[in-house]
């Protein structure tokens, strides 16, 4: 598994078929917060299996063969939706085999507020010829621009989300798709973390070896999270759509030594919480970005490996069992990990 540092714009262009694109707003500060982060991006197939009925074509092996698996998968879809797929890939027509793993780091600061966020696009849109990454990427990019603006309210991550969503709807060129989102804002003035969460991405704050605060998963039913969406006409009836106002908001006072994990469901569904806590606890008080990066890599890699392990009794399969749904092993899904420590 290799990691690359690339500009995220390349990221969008190159992976026209990625079902999730993430972006995060994060920043580092010498005095209070040292944040390092990693994004590992995986082209999971689980959602495709649900939507596209192509489970038979999933590669049985692990991440090393990921690209081959993707390719087969996309070919399958191109037969049905060829025209639209070509359009979405910007006229290039051919599916590009690009590194499936991208690590990006970007940082910015704004007076007293530090913001990070993650958005996980819903892959089902691909079967309608829509690149699911476009929506989540646009949402996060708007969040970033807005969080730099003059009228940013650090106490209102939900407002930020709502405005970004509004921004998305206000584009002349329609952006179609849906995604879950989770946004954290640290207000340095009172050391309080303000959060807004919609769907099944989420955050976890670990303090002295135990979970101090966590987001609640929002689901309509099993494996159908709450999601912001903008759907083309005729899908209004069928598509799940939740307004930004249904986001859960929380506020939580952080202390030095806290470790904050912000990740997509690809992590929480595959890595048992105990292991997460263990890894995060070790990072308490670490201000070295390199060490943090390594930890974030480790979490992502762990999630990745477990997700392709059919024998792994993942939190996802445990939940499924409770609902009498047969789903064993890991859940291949997009994985994004953002790790931050309070120092």
């Amino acid at each position: 598994m290799n990691t690359l540092d690339v500009d995220f714009r390349m990221d969008i262009r190159g992976t026209g078929f990625r079902r999730t694109i993430q972006q995060y707003l994060i920043n580092c500060c010498a005095q209070l917060v040292e944040i390092a982060m990693i994004l590992t991006h995986e082209s999971g197939k689980f959602m495709c299996r649900l939507w596209g009925g192509t489970s038979q074509e999933l590669p049985p092996n692990g991440h090393d063969k990921d690209d081959d698996g993707d390719k087969g998968h996309y070919h399958c879809h191109r037969t049905t939706n060829e025209k639209k797929l070509i359009r979405n890939s910007g006229g290039e027509g051919d599916f590009q085999r690009l590194p499936r793993l991208v690590s990006v780091a970007c940082g910015f600061a704004k007076d007293q507020a530090y913001t990070m966020g993650v958005a996980d696009g819903v892959g089902g849109w691909r079967s309608f010829g829509v690149d699911p990454g476009e929506f989540s990427m646009f949402l996060m990019r708007s969040c970033e621009r807005l969080s730099l603006g003059k009228d940013m309210v650090p106490q209102r991550p939900d407002l930020l989300l709502a405005r970004a969503y509004c921004e998305l709807l206000g584009q002349k060129c329609p952006v179609v798709g849906s995604c879950t989102a989770c946004i954290l804002i640290l207000n340095r003035a009172n050391s309080t973390l303000y959060t807004a969460n919609l769907g099944d991405s989420g955050f976890l704050v670990v303090r002295s070896g135990a979970v101090a605060c966590r987001s609640l998963e929002q689901q309509h039913h099993f494996n159908t999270p709450y999601q912001l969406s903008a759907s083309p006409p005729r899908h209004h009836v069928t598509a799940v759509s939740d307004g930004p106002e249904s986001a859960d908001t929380m506020q939580f006072t952080v202390e030095p030594g806290d470790v904050i994990l912000l990740a997509t469901d690809g992590v929480y569904d595959n890595v048992p919480e105990s292991i997460l806590i263990e890894v995060l606890s070790e990072m308490s008080g670490v201000s070295d970005a390199v060490r943090l990066q390594m930890a974030a890599n480790a979490v992502a890699l762990m999630a990745r490996i477990l997700s392709f392990n059919p024998a792994h009794d993942s939190p996802f399969s445990q939940n499924a069992r409770k609902l009498n749904i047969a789903a064993s092993g890991g859940k291949p899904d997009d994985i994004t990990v953002l790790l931050a420590t309070v120092v």
Binding site: F108, K110, R145, L148, Q171, K172, P233, H236
Partner: protein
Amino acid sequence: MSLLAYAEDRDPGESSDTEAEPDALVDFTAMLRQRQREYGGWFGCGSKMQAEQSDQGYYLEQYVLGVLDFSSQYGIDYSISYTAANVIGRPTKFPAYGDYPETFPMVSRSGPCPTPFPFNSRPQRTYGDWWQRAPSATREIQAQNLPKLTTHDYIVVYFEEFVVPTEVAIFETFNPGSVVRIWAYGLTKHWTCLWEATESDLARPALDSRRFAPALKKTTMITKTLRIDFNHSRLNYYTEIDAIMLCGRTVSKTQSLLGKQQKRMQQQTQRQVLASPPAEASDPPATDGSGGPISYKLRTLKFQPNCHEDGATKLHDFINNDLSQFLMDNSVKGGGDLGPPHPLPPPPPPQVCLTDLPFEILLRILSYLDLKSLFRVGQVSRTFYDISTHPLLYAELSLKPYWHVASSELLCTLARRATMLRKLDLSWCGGLGNVSPTEFKKFLTQRGDNLTHLRLNSCKFLNASCIENVGIVCDNLIELSLRNCATDPPLLNFSCLANLKNLERLDLFQTAFETELLLSMLEGNRKLKHLNLAFCGVSVNMDNVAAHLATYNTQLISLDLWKAHFLSARGLQSLARLHQLEELDLGWCLREASLGDGLFQLLTNCPKLKKLFLSAVRGTTERDLMHIAALGKNLEQLDLMGILNITHERAYDILVHCPKLQLLDLSFCDNIMDRDFDLLAEWSRQFNVDIKSSRRY
């Protein structure tokens, strides 16, 4: 390098000048700092490097620090897409050409247009003349005041440092060629026009992004505030501005001292200028005639409000003491006993004098003059003064073209003349505090009771009590236009407008108000024909408004709900009961909802519909488009921008079945893309319809 450090470096002598706009420096600085970071602190560094030897000042290129004022923008206030704030900082898109959300497009949609006038034979708004052709088009008040190339939109921006401007560059990234004037606001607190376009400048430029830097008038003025005027008449589509750059030499300490002296001097002269007609400030004094002091004296006699009483005495003095001197200076024969000579350029033959004409004829002649000339004519003689101040000439007043000289004093002067005032347009006036709300209220109280038309677009001096005054005094209003008025704090306490019962046109474009208050107004004004609620903000429940309209305002002809959120399919059904509708703008409404059969009902019930804008109404389906083709017999303008899944067949259907169609906007329709350009051009020729489509470059 931080901007703050830079600010501290600024010499103290200058900082006192910058206090002219104290708040101006605050609001956008955060944003600027962000950009600065984005570009690695490049901003302003170049200047700083040379700052040590600042005896002479140094050459500086700077980008916009903040936006003070603008007439319209495509995006909504709190958005970051298509808003005026996007001109701040360095260009973000510049070499690229296309329709980008990160730039600043203007939409002074359906605003008043000039009457057909020699140069404005194709008056327009926003782009082309489409808005003038729409049923809601209005006529400009006192159209003779307008310059050859009228201004449709403007933006006022400020920069960080005072400079003597040598170059102003405007980065246009989409449909360039709309800039017509560049103004600078000097230390002397008045506006100077640095550049003005001629007809040939507006010849449609290539469709490519450009850095537009016209040759400026040579000037020594010191400025950091610019106003750019736009005229969209030649444009094919919206124009978009990415950034504005001001280049020039900064002023060193000594120069700034000189500047202050100059300022003091100019202030003195300005005081005189202010008392005189609006013309003088922008005109070279040479046109005032050769006898500078004398004509000045005449001017003081005629136009200084406070010397009105003893004017006769002064004139007497003048005739007795200075007249012979004056005549000698001008080597003109004395004409008549009255005294002042006849200075009209070609001296008339001795037998016939202009003043021999009947009063009514003269009045008629003068009625073609613009305000500036009218004031000048008044300086000619007592006779002309009497005629030129006749109330009939001031029944319609528009100070919009004179926004740069409009002041409380001018209002005061006009108040004495305009005793029969019917139509008043004070749009764009009072931008930097030279019209006081008190003076406006006084004016209104004196002359407002017969007003039928009142336009106060983008008036920065308005406050709640001004509006209240309007409501109390002007109870005969037929048209009220309050476009783009301050929204913070909310200005419109509509209860104060409850008196108005005769309104036929109400324009609240980009002005915030509350639903209940609007509802009561709609109830009171049953004769309402034109209503513009574009950009009305999120607090308004449009479904209620629509239901009210359907109940009380059945004569409505045009309705603009552009970007009015919270209109649902239910509201659309209510609108379908407005049978007289000829124009309906639903751009960006109905966001989440599917339209149901609302559009079908609307098209069935409103057969007169000429203009239908459905920009970005994403719920529009193929079925709706079929209804449009089947029922839109009278449609002339149709906007389907950003609607998904429009097939070529449906577009073709519409073209075939709507014989009167002139404008069809298909930009950003995902199925109709660049490669169809030839096909669209072919259709355009075949059906004689202007088809807009987005081309990404």
